[in-house]
Amino acid sequence: MALTREQLAQRVAQELKDGYYVNLGIGIPTLVANYVPEGIEVMLQSENGLLGMGAFPTEEEIDADLINAGKQTVTMSKGASLFDSAESFAMIRGGHVDLTVLGAFEVDVQGNIASYMIPGKLIKGMGGAMDLVAGADNIIVTMTHASKHGVSKLLSQCTLPLTGKGCIKKVLTDLAFIEIKAGKFHLLERAPGVSVEQIIELTEGELVVPDVVPEMSFA
């Protein structure tokens, strides 16, 4: 069974470590905050100028001056700090964020990522995504493995304009957890009930499959 959005978030959350500063992109990545493992503390960085993003506000707490990068109203967690956009991207570009989670349209075996533009269709801009992929060492891309029509999004070469070149090492799809190294995809884990054959079929780029591919586990 392909992972649900919630399961994708849950699996990413297993990669969190105590004391991590984390930037979560819009969409599925945002959900990761709901699955921080017990006994672990992370601080969320929002690139519009907040380190220590808290939960959504109650109706009474809503403050127009306090939003996240998705322009949603948020709160601050204890020990939060506020800063301007130059400082925020100094953190990001300077590699101070421990983990970045973001979505994509396509990734390829060279670690390239396309996530911001579909020529002639979707031209809204890259926002902070190009800075995030260029600045972070540790990035997890979350996406569906293939389109609704069964077209793979894990490619030998991205077809859409790139957001970043050679910067992606880990991809979590609804079917598999994959590492990118030395110009190949490497299958690390498969979604519960998903066969290796299914993954191979829906992966266009070269995929290295070890003898044993463990299923993801959700405690």
């Binding site: 109706e59 130059a86 801009g125 304009p161």
Partner: protein
């Protein structure tokens, strides 16, 4: 106005000198921390041919989006321009020139403009459409592209408090691009929620020193929220 007193009382004074074809840097992230009254004044003045530098371009009926229907903006340099139907129409038809710039690069370009740094290298955008026509270079085996600074004839920013000398303090994430825009305008105008006397702001806590600010006006802000998101108690 004498000495360092930068307070003006009308929006006409605040935006005096803005003429067609100028470059205007605007603070704000989405609709958060935008100089609402200064934008409204630009609409009123019907200044045309503007190049606007701002992370976003407002929405259809608020923020910088207000300058679109009368085609006041010739070109916009922004990182994200969704949520605006008229914007999309003008962009697709070629009436509006859009230069998409990564958010961090945009912030750094404005900071550089204010700080006398004409250009800097960044890894952001390397190997992407953003890098087209730009110099590429390796440092310590990593690839970077050269990005140039941005300055403008005007900068319009929104702050929480100002003193009469133009020292500014921002609140929460309404800070965003405002401090950098403030440094990079030849004339910088700050629209603020509250004006206090010099000495009332703690010198340690001033975000934008008054040296960057030419005019200060007290505004009334709607502070529209784009994504009102709440949790249950």
């Amino acid at each position: 106005m004498a000495g360092f007193d930068k307070v003006v009382t009308t929006y006409e004074q605040a935006m005096a000198g803005l003429t067609d074809n100028m470059t205007v840097l605007a603070g704000g992230f989405g609709l958060c921390g935008i100089p609402e009254g200064l934008i409204a004044q630009i609409k009123k003045m019907q200044t045309k041919g503007l190049t606007v530098v701002s992370n976003n371009c407002g929405v259809d009926d608020f923020g910088l989006g207000l300058l679109l229907p009368d085609r006041q903006i010739k070109k916009i340099i922004a990182s994200y321009v969704g949520e605006n139907a008229e914007f999309e129409r003008q962009m697709m038809s070629g009436e509006l020139d859009v230069e998409l710039t990564p958010q961090g690069t945009l912030a750094e370009k404005m900071r550089a403009g204010g700080a006398g740094i004409p250009a800097f290298f960044t890894a952001t955008g390397y190997g992407t459409p953003v890098a087209e026509g730009k110099e590429e270079r390796q440092f310590n085996g990593k690839n970077y592209i050269l990005e140039e600074a941005i300055t403008g004839e005007f900068a319009i920013v929104k702050a929480w408090k100002a003193d009469r000398y133009g020292n500014l303090v921002y609140r929460h994430t309404a800070r965003n691009f405002n401090p950098m825009a403030a440094t990079a305008g030849k004339i910088t105008v700050a629209e603020v929620e509250e004006i206090v006397e010099p000495g009332e702001l703690d010198p340690n806590e001033i975000h934008t020193p008054g040296i960057y600010v030419n005019r200060v006006i007290k505004g009334n802000f709607e502070k529209r929220i784009e994504q009102r998101t709440v949790r249950q108690k």
